[in-house]
């Protein structure tokens, strides 16, 4: 089943066409990577899909329904979540509280009820807490739940963002350069984590500069350059695509 469909999607910023007539789709259970040089439009594409910015033209469909231009909270409610290239954690909140905010949507009681109906609050709170804790365990951050989020090392803050996003139990997660700032060991563990997400029912759309990780985990790759789609295919196809190599990868990468 096609989970996400992007058709002739276009977005300008002033005179710059950040995303230009881009087409691609993501099947349920896939890991699709988007690669391209800086300024290729990858982050804009994520902003469009997650509702942070609205498309100028073209369409974004999720399970066949148009979602282009919906507010971020509506898109999140449909089961799409994301992480950020420049981290967007809730500072001044503890690690587990950050994840609990992500987990709140899956609360059986509405948020208002959870806030106001006292007898049910404790039980609800407990179940959200335990879901947050298992999300932290998933990304490998146990034992740090009471730290303030901002004291975690950079790589762990990235993992925390993934934990927070996964606590929403999303059907589609958009990961924006999750390996940035991570060392080799952390990147390898991240790769394993990402590779395991489809088995948990979460389809992955990944923007990443670490080619080793992309080539290992991605089922398919979409290459963007100057806002347009340059190529699409399996990791093998992309590695052998002369156009891609000249535009972006460069011989020395492989």
């Amino acid at each position: 089943m096609t989970l996400l469909g992007v058709n002739r999607l276009t977005r300008h910023f002033g005179g710059v066409t950040a995303v230009n007539f881009v087409d691609f789709h993501v099947e349920q259970g896939e890991i699709v990577a988007i690669i391209g040089p800086n300024g290729a439009g990858k982050t804009t594409l994520f902003n469009l899909i997650s509702g942070v910015v609205s498309p100028d033209s073209g369409s974004i469909t999720y399970k066949g329904a148009e979602i282009g231009g919906l507010t971020p909270e509506k898109i999140a409610a449909l089961g799409i979540t994301r992480t950020f290239q420049n981290l967007q954690l809730f500072r001044n909140m503890s690690v587990v509280e950050n994840v609990m905010v992500g987990a709140h949507r899956r609360g059986k009681k509405g948020m208002l009820q959870a806030g106001l109906r006292w007898p049910g609050v404790a039980a609800e709170e407990k179940s959200i807490y335990s879901r947050a804790m298992s999300s932290l365990e998933l990304v490998g951050l146990p034992g740090k739940e009471n730290y303030p989020a901002e004291v975690l090392p950079y790589g762990e803050q990235r993992l925390l963002e993934i934990a927070r996003a996964m606590a929403m139990e999303p059907e589609l997660i958009l990961l924006d350069e999750p390996a940035a700032g991570m060392n080799q060991g952390e990147t390898n563990r991240l790769g394993e984590l990402v590779a395991g997400l489809p088995d948990m029912g979460t389809t992955v759309l990944l923007v990443e500069h670490n080619m080793e990780m992309v080539m290992t985990v991605a089922h398919r790759i979409v290459v963007l350059d100057h806002g347009s789609k340059l190529a699409e295919g399996t990791p093998e196809d992309i590695q052998n695509d002369a156009q891609v190599i000249s535009a972006y990868l460069g011989e020395e990468v492989f």
Partner: protein, 292 residues
């Protein structure tokens, strides 16, 4: 100067401070989550007081009237948010501030038409002899004021720290974009904050009425005092708002007692000026900090 007198001023100050703290919390709750400063806060105080006083006058039991009034003012706050703030949500901050000032003038005008200029009394919540604390007298209503404001403050803290909704509100205040991507709707949070702040304001107006009586224009001064207390506490911190409220109440009472009661309001606004000029981030705020 007797120590008894100082104690008396301190007790008076704490009572006033409890009221200011409740009003300041209304300002802070709305500001942290929506970024707006709501100068209609004082009118919530007035409406709470006058609705309760009218209901009691009409024969409703005191506690029933109090609860009904808090709920009604909460509803009023929600309607205010939907009808006035929501349509202006994308306007600059200054525009929204001016809208809230204008709306407060309108509410005061309508209150004048409904209730007139006379003052409405409310009986003390309990009768009996005043208490004596270290040589100072404290009437029963002051005890009520202190206890109810502390109760409201503790409930609010528990709410922000212990409930998921509270965390969602905090998240919305800290990083709105990320909160929206977690499925939190800022508009719903805004609606909730205005409702909550209206109820806090109403409570403040109700508990102070047995001491001061209620009039249509009481909200102006009380709202400004609450704002001073909130600024004193840094505008972004609930703890700061509570401390600011009590500090302002005590300074006012001391100033009134030691200098002259005529300077009571002047002292508040002098404090506001000093804080804004010398320490705009408030007593607890971090300089140049981001709004959180």
């Amino acid at each position: 100067m007797h120590i008894n007198e100082l104690m008396q001023f301190l007790l008076t100050g704490l009572t006033l401070g409890g009221i200011y703290a409740l009003i300041a919390l209304g300002f802070v709750t709305i500001y942290t989550v929506t970024g707006h400063i709501n100068f209609t806060q004082g009118e919530f105080v007035m409406l709470g007081a006058l609705i309760t006083a009218s209901m009691v006058k009409g024969g409703t039991g005191l506690w029933a009237a109090i609860i009904a009034s808090i709920l009604l003012v909460g509803l009023f706050g929600a309607l205010f948010e939907r009808a006035v703030i929501y349509p202006a949500r994308n306007s600059p901050v200054v525009t929204v501030i001016i809208i809230t000032i204008g709306f407060s003038v309108a509410v005061r005008g309508v209150a004048l038409l409904i209730w007139g200029t006379q003052s409405y009394p409310l009986p003390s919540f309990s009768s009996g002899e005043p208490l004596y604390v270290l040589g100072a007298t404290m009437n029963k209503q002051s005890v009520w004021v202190l206890c109810l404001s502390l109760l409201a403050v503790s409930l609010l803290f528990a709410f922000f720290e212990r409930t998921v909704m509270g965390k969602a509100l905090k998240a919305c205040a800290i990083n709105r974009v990320a909160a929206r991507l977690m499925g939190i709707s800022p508009q719903r949070m805004s609606l909730f904050c205005f409702t909550l702040s209206a109820m806090l304001g109403a409570l403040a107006g109700i508990v102070i009425t047995p001491t001061t009586t209620a009039t249509y224009d009481m909200g102006l001064m009380l709202g400004l005092k609450g704002f001073v207390a909130a600024v004193l506490g840094g505008l972004t911190s609930t703890t700061g708002a509570v401390l600011g409220g009590f500090l302002l109440g005590i300074l006012e009472a001391m100033g009134a007692g030691l200098i002259s009661s005529g300077y009571k309001d002047a002292i508040s606004f002098l404090i506001l000026l000093l804080v804004l000029l010398k320490r705009p981030e408030g007593l607890l705020g971090k300089p140049d900090g981001k709004r959180v």
